[in-house]
Symmetry: C2
Subunit: 474 residues, 2 copies
Amino acid sequence: MTSAETYYPNEPTTPKVVTAAIPGPESERQIKELGTVFDSRCAYFVADYDKSTGNYIVDVDNNVYLDLYAQIASIALGYNNPKLIDLLSTNEMKNALVNRPASGNFPAKELAPTLEQVLKVAPKGQTHVWSGLSGSDANELAIKAAFMYYAQKKRGGETVPFTTEEMESVMDNQGPGAPSFAVLSFKKAFHGRLFASGSCTCSKPIHKLDLPAFDWPHAEYPAYKYPLDTAENAQLNKIEDDRCLAIVEDLIKTWKNPIAAVLIEPIQSEGGDNHASAYFLQGLRDITLKHDVVYIIDEVQTGLGATGSLWCHEYANIQPPVDLVTFSKKCQSAGYWFHDPLMVPNKPYRQFNTWCGDTARMLIFGTIGEEILNNGLVDQTARVGNYMFEKLLVLQEKYPELFANLRGQNRGTFIAWDLPSNELREKLLKTLKLNGCNVGGCAEKSVRLRPSLTFDEKHVDIFIAALTKSVTQI
Amino acid sequence: MTSAETYYPNEPTTPKVVTAAIPGPESERQIKELGTVFDSRCAYFVADYDKSTGNYIVDVDNNVYLDLYAQIASIALGYNNPKLIDLLSTNEMKNALVNRPASGNFPAKELAPTLEQVLKVAPKGQTHVWSGLSGSDANELAIKAAFMYYAQKKRGGETVPFTTEEMESVMDNQGPGAPSFAVLSFKKAFHGRLFASGSCTCSKPIHKLDLPAFDWPHAEYPAYKYPLDTAENAQLNKIEDDRCLAIVEDLIKTWKNPIAAVLIEPIQSEGGDNHASAYFLQGLRDITLKHDVVYIIDEVQTGLGATGSLWCHEYANIQPPVDLVTFSKKCQSAGYWFHDPLMVPNKPYRQFNTWCGDTARMLIFGTIGEEILNNGLVDQTARVGNYMFEKLLVLQEKYPELFANLRGQNRGTFIAWDLPSNELREKLLKTLKLNGCNVGGCAEKSVRLRPSLTFDEKHVDIFIAALTKSVTQI
């Protein structure tokens, strides 16, 4: 039995769209109502989660869609997963919701076991966790950890006290207490929308306009020729990797302020599903070690199985392991993994806040992780992804201009391709919805597939049929 | 019947400390275990929330404390509140937890009713809400809204398009797309620990050291003479208000970069329970209107009833209402209130993220708000606070040096006072725990009281007895 059959014996067997347009009339009405108190301009439709099951999402007009977007890549086990529903009636969950602890000061007796549970799905080489609340928050907290670690090292170790000058200047937001350290990220990156994470983000102006930013640099992320496996492309892509690595090292050496950390997504998701090679990710490890810079991998969107390994960057087998790995989305929780005990700041209350995360969401993460391990969902996703990629190669052969730069081979269901224009991409996504498939885009003209880990071969067949139909309609 | 009797018929009648030291041996062991995966250095004890009830928190050594700290001021209705427990078994809660929506793109049919419910406890004059995840996040989101609003106004209105120069420069983190706008906050302020909120925070160096900050100014928060109601002090305090208002206006006029927003707590909580007068808060409204600056009130710690009004700043009856009010903590959720439709950015996806808040936590907020209204808990807190303040005045008379600057009269249970030194304050808090009362400090030498809204007269009597005993022991 596949995981979908195990979990969802009553999952629909096929999508069903009953309204002439999407959003349908009832969604339209509710979006308008919601708009009186909330910003509802981005709503595609209003969902009825009571009726949604497994890989199918149902809207308030009773349209039933096969969901390959899964709440912007954040549903790991499908809708109404029975194991997650069971979790809700536990005492642990009741305590985390009704008696939400300030986990730094008054941790619950359940906290250590909960964290030990989530650590079972930590990336290889990572042994500790610090918890936050969202992807942006995870990246901001990791950036804080990186700055404190970097400053401590520069100061001469964790026992060297702060100077009076540092203690005084920081209260005026000035150096040396508030140093002009920088984080190096990449063009087309997306790391969140707060002020440090936002300064690292570089995918679209609309995410950043009118917001003050730190004066931090964006290096170039390698842009590969596809398919990756022809000899000619392999050679060109190696040259591209070396070019981009040289830019990173040059920025570290020459940037106006010290670069404390390098922050990178192993696949730039929001920015267009741009992949980085194992060679490139290892090259960054070598450069960051050489220059004593903290290496942070952002696995907010790529993490927890969708790429066919538990954590995307594991395919690169980076040695020694990176310093910090951030997570959120499919984990339904957020935070960062680390392994060096010195990454914990030298004094208490430096990395701290009222709740220090959300134990309720960590409990959910723990159960998701357990289900992934118990049901072999990473292997399943690798297998289903390969099956889907083969079918997409056939479509690419037939419609090369509508399936350009097909990418994500051997990366599970984390697959994307380009349309000729933004207009055509939007048209394809709209047509796919009308044909019963909820699919997302990224960057200007890419389609990204982000189903849950319970997506299996029969869902692929349904999707490929809808996609084949849709491309003839646009 | 008081709310504690209604909710908690089986609440303990008295605290009970059974270990010679706190943390007790079992807490010690668990804190050490937790420390292998988490930063547990700030833990006072490990709590057993299954055994905690109403106003009493129980630790894993079976010590029973009357809780006047309530998870750093974040528990509104006591532990194991039956109405919140009932909420857990609803379909709405199941959907919000198991099928966590990306509420911007695929809002649940439950979202509009949930927000309409929380809007019933919005501050007077505020009609809309945007949701976040924590106090820091709420302030960062409000600061983003303020910057976008300010820029839009400066640009000439919401229909004026971004320039090519803005669109290009912002991708390099440079102006004019990433403008050098500033937020003015106050010395001793606490607004959170991320990078924009952290630049506004100015209470202790340890919160800020080694982190880059925006070059934003901190004005002076008025420091009053207590008691407030003597003629001499009233006159001196008015002079102090005028002095501080003049500094704010001067900074707005002369700061090196445009000040887009003023951010203030009506009572600086972390910074020492420093109160601002109605005159001062209205004065800021006048100045911000005059100079076209956004006025943001941070009610993360002061909000939702503890000060004897639903929102602390309402006592000042600021006219016209402030532009943004942030909330978190007792709301068990987070976000900001606003009323000007132009505070919604002119384009979608400018104020956006994957989850756009957490509907599960908003449902809890809605129920908390409903219970507060249905049970008259704001009035109760005002009454109980007055009762407690009277008792503290008696203690102050007897031990003037141990109860200096007693403050919070007519501010519900939001009461604080100063000890002569940090050392004595720490000793008092420790002794209070050994005498069965869990109480928090703020700033260097203040004690702050932050019980839940279900705290009533009988709890006051128990606390005052323990406090009286403790002051003779330190």
